[in-house]
């Protein structure tokens, strides 16, 4: 039997390399109009009066008065307006859209619009909680009572910018009585739902298509719905084609980022044992809630990382501040929590004088253990085997000892982590209800009809590989075009490490159906719908039960060297071991792992983004520094198979997992090098200096 993991040529590689693939800014249409967004100049203010200039023929100003539906971007909470009406709640909030044939003139119109504001006092502190979630496991009061001491630390994590190299963009046009939007997007059906709602239209009045996506990392999950609404209102009104491509600065100042977080952890201790932990999490949503509630819940569920702690009290808040709204970013709340818990377990070990590795091992979750939400880790956990591999390949134990004694600033750090695959809780069954189709034409060409987007993670290749392997036909006979909502069913958004495990699982089932019923030279179509395994039980109100159907696991080890004079950190080498069930393509997973890990490492020591007075300070790649080829360490990545019964060929989620361990690994390596406790990221030279001078 062929091993599915064996690497094949990526189907889209050559077209991308040679510049043939069309990204959204490469689309050209006759008489395409340009659009520029009119934005708030204040962080919090009432809009008193708008004075619009007299417009030349062919120029338009689109604002809230043009909205046929209700003025909200349809998401989980109806709180973010598409265009501000009477008030603005963050600097650069969209107020209107100017559209016209000449870009310079459009810009002039934008600049000549006068808006009178009544300025109000903005909030940037974590004081205005709009969502609170809390849950317990075991008996925290008893743990508290029985404990002899308490260990408490507070950890802080910053903004992180996705920095996909292709900025946000979309075009809209009117064709066959449909408002059609083509964009750099992760979730065609999220965009469609938002536009149907803002135009208060029939479903079939809206068509959404994907262009080749130049990186997304969550940044093109919910944010594009906002751009789509702006464009759709314009296209609906003027029935012309309009292009809205953000420049880098507009993208960085106004689009969603990773939520900054403050995480306070307290352990109740007795005889060097952790009796219980209480966690307190606050995340900064920015001006509107958006997906923040879901981000918070993923963070809270990850409260104990890979460890089994019997008694828990977990509490979290989403705070509203007058800053740019934050949103989805690879990991979705987990990177913040995993950073905190990984540092905490280490800090506890140091405080009680136990080897961190020993303490980690004694709390490492095992199969059938109870999760943080009193669910069950049903599948085998192979972390001990992964650990052995990681320690051996990196020579961790020797280096750990030696670097401590050497009079150099060398360090090595290790993180352990997991990531719940798919939507949190029963989301797949209650909110998404994925549908996939597989269609065979009379020439026996098979088309995969799903809404999943290839944004670089390789699903164009892996999905086809699954189908061609099951049907035992050449991969060239399997077609998978960019999704178009006129043609594909809603298989759900391309998020939450669900695409291969959930959507790929359904595609595999459809392929098996087709195989069993195959009739040569006949048109055939098979549909599969998601069914939740009956043993998965989740009580959303009380955070109780199985938060995820399956978990992927990982270990990162990172080695650093710090300059004695400048405290500049060099990341020398990295080792990772992952359990993603079964890789559908080994090279694709390792490539994703390298990228994810570097993004996580960058978050841990390099990437600085701050808002001052509600204004994002880093507006371009000149100011927001991400790792370059010179900063990138050699990464050794190993995969160990641990097939998940319900995934296609045993595959689980992989996309987000590879990011979440990077920050704690690099932070612990730096902590090891300097011998001081690190409690926030990024660990910059300035922060190291501050730690070193606090003798």
């Amino acid at each position: 039997m062929k091993d599915i993991s064996k690497t094949i040529k990526k189907v889209d590689s050559d077209d991308k390399s040679s510049g043939k693939s069309k990204y959204i800014s490469d689309y050209k249409m006759e008489n395409m109009l340009h659009a520029i967004t009119v934005r708030s100049k204040h962080q919090k203010a009432k809009i008193i009066k708008r004075t619009y200039p007299v417009l030349k023929e062919g120029y338009y100003i689109i604002d809230h008065t043009d909205i046929p539906g209700v003025n909200f971007v349809k998401m989980i909470f109806d709180d973010m307006p598409v265009f501000a009406e009477n008030e603005v709640n963050y600097y650069l909030e969209p107020i209107a859209l100017v559209v016209g044939p000449d870009k310079e003139e459009v810009l002039e119109i934008v600049n000549s619009i006068e808006i009178a504001y009544e300025i109000q006092i903005p909030t940037y502190e974590y004081t205005n909680s709009v969502i609170n979630y809390n849950f317990t496991k075991g008996n925290i009061e008893k743990a508290k009572k029985e404990s002899e001491s308490e260990i408490e630390y507070t950890y802080n994590t910053p903004y992180q910018e996705q920095l996909y190299i292709e900025p946000q963009g979309m075009i809209g046009y009117f064709e066959n009585n449909q408002v059609t939007l083509v964009g750099s997007i992760q979730c065609p059906y999220y965009v469609k739902a938002a536009v149907v709602s803002i135009l208060d239209s029939e479903e079939d009045y809206i068509r959404v298509k994907q262009a080749t996506v130049g990186g997304a990392f969550g940044g093109k999950e919910e944010f594009p719905s906002l751009i789509a609404c702006h464009l759709a209102i314009a296209v609906h009104k003027i029935k012309k084609s309009v292009k809205l491509i953000y420049e880098r600065e507009e993208d960085m100042e106004t689009t969603t980022k990773r939520h900054p977080a403050t995480i306070k952890l307290k352990a109740y201790m007795k005889d060097n044992k952790i009796l219980g932990i209480s966690s307190n999490v606050g995340i900064d949503a920015g001006a509107y809630i958006g997906l923040s509630g879901v981000v918070l819940s993923r963070a809270l569920i990850a409260a104990t990382g890979v460890y089994t702690i019997d008694n828990l009290a977990v509490n979290g808040d989403v705070f509203i501040t007058n800053t740019v709204p934050n949103g989805a970013f690879r990991g979705f709340g987990a990177p913040q929590m995993l950073f905190a818990i990984e540092m905490f377990i280490h800090h506890i070990a140091k405080d009680i004088n136990v080897e961190p590795l020993t303490l980690r091992q004694s709390y490492l979750a095992k199969q059938n253990d109870s999760t943080s939400t009193t669910g069950t880790f049903r599948d085998p956990i192979i972390m001990p085997e992964m650990l052995e591999k990681a320690l051996k390949e990196s020579d961790f134990i020797r280096k750990e000892k030696e670097y401590k004694q050497e009079n150099s600033l060398k360090g090595i750090g290790m993180s352990w982590f997991l990531h719940g695959c798919g939507f949190t809780g029963s989301g797949e069954a209650t909110h998404i209800n994925a549908v996939v189709k597989l269609e065979k034409d009379k020439n026996d060409l098979v088309t995969i009809l799903i809404a999943a987007v290839d944004m670089g993670q390789g699903v164009k290749t892996t999905m086809r590989k699954i189908v061609s392997n099951i049907l035992d036909i050449p991969i060239e006979n399997v077609i998978y075009n960019h999704p178009d909502t006129n043609l594909v069913p809603d298989s759900g958004p391309t998020v939450a490490s669900r695409t291969i495990m959930i959507v790929g699982g359904l595609v595999a089932r459809a392929a098996k159906q087709l195989k069993e019923n195959w009739i040569d030279r006949n048109y055939q179509i098979f549909t599969e719908k998601y069914k939740q395994p009956s043993y998965i039980k989740w009580d959303e109100d009380n955070f109780r039960g199985d938060a995820y159907p399956a978990y992927s696991w990982g270990i990162n080890i990172v080695e650093v060297e710090i300059d004695k004079n400048t405290y500049e950190v060099t990341v020398k080498e990295g080792w990772s071991v992952y359990d993603v069930g079964k890789a559908i393509d080994e090279q694709i997973i390792i490539g994703q792992a390298d990228g994810g890990q570097l993004q996580g490492i960058g978050y841990g020591y390099m990437e600085v983004m701050k808002a001052v007075d509600g204004k994002i300070q880093q507006k371009n790649v000149t100011d927001y520094i991400i790792p370059t080829s010179v900063d990138a360490p050699i990464l050794h990545t190993y995969l160990i198979d641990n097939p998940y019964p319900l995934g296609p060929y045993g595959a689980k989620g992989a996309g987000e997992l590879t990011l979440v361990g990077g920050a704690p690994a690099v932070a612990l390596a730096i902590e090891h090098a300097i011998g001081k406790k690190v409690t926030k990221i990024p660990v910059t030279p300035e922060y190291i200096m501050e730690l070193m001078s606090n003798e």
Partner: protein, 157 residues
């Protein structure tokens, strides 16, 4: 109106656009070479890399006027050459292409590096590509791809 004439992917072309217009805009909009990507518009990401007389430049920083009578090569030109073809194949074999938005620029930088150093060390490769950002790959596979091209392309550069 004055004309600016230059050699674009081995063909003589001319344009009447203003000399201060950015080269990237002329290449993408007038000549339809959309393999030249805009990632930052500030000379920091390298997505818009092209060769100006065999030297790697960021076309978002080059005013059209300066290319008069000069030679420009974009990814569309490079991919027709033996060097370009080998680079495309090496990138594919090593899995160095994910979203692909950085890739045309990376290939231009790889070619320019190999022109200067046909047999680069890993560090030389990293330095040669350090003006080109990639957010997807973590660069390891890209470095491998350039190493492979240099090994398999003996005599090409």
């Amino acid at each position: 109106m004055s004309k600016i004439t230059f050699i674009l992917n081995n063909k003589v072309v001319s344009t009447t656009q203003h000399p201060t217009v950015r080269l990237i805009d002329v290449l993408r909009e007038e000549f339809d070479y959309t393999g030249v990507k805009e990632g930052c518009g500030e000379g920091e990401c390298g997505a818009c890399s092209v060769l100006l007389n065999d030297r790697l430049v960021n076309s978002c920083l080059v005013p059209l006027g300066t290319v008069h009578d000069q030679k420009i090569m974009t990814i569309e030109g490079l991919s027709e050459t033996p060097q370009g073809k080998l680079l495309i194949e090496s990138y594919s074999k090593e899995g160095a292409v994910q979203c692909g938005f950085c890739t045309p620029g990376m290939l231009m930088a790889s070619h320019s590096l190999l022109n200067e150093i046909p047999n680069p060390t890993d560090l030389e490769i990293k330095i040669g590509l350090s003006g080109n950002l990639c957010r997807c790959t973590g660069y390891n596979m890209i470095v491998n791809a350039v190493r492979r091209a240099s090994k398999e392309g003996v005599g090409l550069w």
